[in-house]
Symmetry: C2
Subunit: 153 residues, 2 copies
């Protein structure tokens, strides 16, 4: 069954990839900087960077001065930020007994930034128990396509 949680896990179901993304948001852009910060082998780092480029999440380009190559987040990559901050919110609750090591604050008003699962209509903050999954418009399309493929066999 198609699912928009399962599909991105082909990319995000990997610790190194999520760490590369985390450091991309911290401003790291050069291969060597990723390598020394992460303590990852060069081949493994190259593999992960290549996959992120292939998925349009990072782009490799000449730095402003033109002296070296940089890996930068695309807009598609920037949209991953709420995933990382959702992990952070959970980590602050359950894996930071000494208190949050880092606070993420709104630049304008310095309020803290947190991820909330909300109802678009009534604005209520929701837990898993208050949410029901229902077939979406993409399901019938996917199933029709799967049916067409199986009838070709």
């Amino acid at each position: 069954m198609p699912c928009s949680i399962t599909r991105p896990l082909v990319i995000f179901g990997d610790r190194w990839t999520l760490l590369i993304l985390k450091y991309s948001f911290s401003g790291i852009r050069r291969f060597n900087a990723f390598q020394s910060t992460l303590g990852i082998s060069r081949s493994r780092l190259q593999d992960r960077l290549d996959r992120l480029i292939e998925h349009g999440i990072l782009v490799k380009q000449k730095a402003a001065g033109g002296a070296h190559e940089e890996y930068r987040l695309t807009p598609k990559g920037h949209d991953i930020y709420p995933i990382l901050l959702a992990i952070r919110d959970w980590g602050d609750i359950y894996m930071a007994p000494e208190g949050p090591p880092v606070e993420y604050r709104h630049r304008d008003c310095t309020g803290e930034a947190h991820v909330k699962l909300e109802c678009d209509v009534c604005g209520t903050e929701l837990t898993a128990r208050e949410v029901m999954p229902l077939p979406g418009p993409g399901l019938a399309v996917s199933e029709a396509a799967a049916g067409a493929r199986s009838s070709v066999r």
Copy 2:
């Protein structure tokens, strides 16, 4: 440097683990049901389930009838839901060209549930560019502990 994104990745930086959690939220509880749904080897599944139990995210207990064992989400496990729905929101935008395969709706009002990164003070929905990471209260504690450990060496 301590970080509440890095720490949970020891658990969540793994595709199988995130898939097990996804199916836990769909109501799957038995070992054999996880195995047949995921198409994962028994030893790999056992390894991931054991780690989730060790981290207090799943609990293994007798089912109501007492006939078999079940793996159920703890409250700590339930709090992972926004992480999965943040992945889903991204997947719906970038990996569902045919439209969302599944809609997640608020049981009460049937509005759609979405993850939002918001400022706690002014309520603005934020992007990565509008957020600044700053040292939090846990950082000094962690660094003092690291200093104490290194002085013992």
